[in-house]
């Protein structure tokens, strides 16, 4: 089921980590309507691109951004509702999308390099 644009709000649970470490507790951030477990998706930042540029996740899932570029990057919501902060070369930061979103499609970019853009689509567990 897709989220309703008008009545949902969302919150990012920031769990910034460095050196590509993700805390195990993040991996089961939330379960809804069944036994499907939340998972952590990985987005590689490489050659000034988010890979993949389009990602579909479920509510409660986490995303871990890994920076393979020499220079620091960020993953920052266009509406500024969440931000990973600076991600250094060969380090990572993760966020858990733990509450309902206003809009199931979230566009984000690198605050330092605005030409880098990507998109997340959030669905809930059926």
């Amino acid at each position: 089921m897709k989220l309703n644009n008008t009545r949902r709000s969302f919150l990012i649970k920031s769990t910034a980590v460095s050196a590509a470490v993700v805390f195990p507790s993040m991996l089961i951030a939330k379960e809804e309507k069944g036994s499907t477990k939340a998972i952590t998706h990985t987005v590689e930042i490489e050659q000034f691109k988010f890979k993949p540029e389009k990602l579909e996740i479920k509510l409660g899932d986490s995303i871990r951004w890994v920076n393979r570029d020499i220079v620091p990057h960020t993953a920052t919501a266009i509406d500024k509702s969440w931000d990973t902060g600076e991600i250094l070369h060969n380090e990572s930061k993760a966020l858990t999308f733990s509450k309902d979103a206003k809009n199931p499609i979230i566009e984000y970019y690198c605050f330092y390099h605005p030409s880098m853009k990507a998109k997340i689509t959030i669905t809930v567990f059926d």
């Binding site: 050659q47 570029d69 020499i70 220079v71 620091p72 605050f111 390099h113 030409s115």
Partner: protein
Amino acid sequence: MNIKSKILMAALAFGLSTTTAIAKEPSELNDLEIAHVAYTADLIDIKYAHLALAISNNQEIHDFARTMIRDHEAVNEQALGLLKKLGAEAQNNKLSQTLNEGATVKIDELSKLRGAAFDTAYAANELGYHKAVNDLVENAFIPNIENAEVKTLFQAGLKIFKAHEAHADMMVKKLK
């Protein structure tokens, strides 16, 4: 466009007189001289950025300038690390000196400006500077670099500087 024309374009972008003497064509520089030119070009843009932080009151200019400092310092750190690993040292050369001379003139020009006049001039210079340097790196340096690791670093650097060029272009259009 031949290499000589590119150099002249670059020289103009850096605020130099076209009569400035350049001892060697960029394509004739060895890897260590090319590394020195690139390192110098990074330091020059860091200087421009510090000037922008000191003079401008525009938040976008500040954000851009901080990105220039952050990125160029990161690239130079990688370059120094690679040179250390290779047991080599960058070699100063006429082109590096010419770039520095041009930057001194440009900084003098920019430092006399204030407000929107400074912001517009800084953004335009960043666009022109990155275009010129990217042209040199892509067409004169990368094809002639012999060491594979140095070439890889320059290819990564070019991606970064092209993103800067695109960012500067956005800034120039916004300030119009």
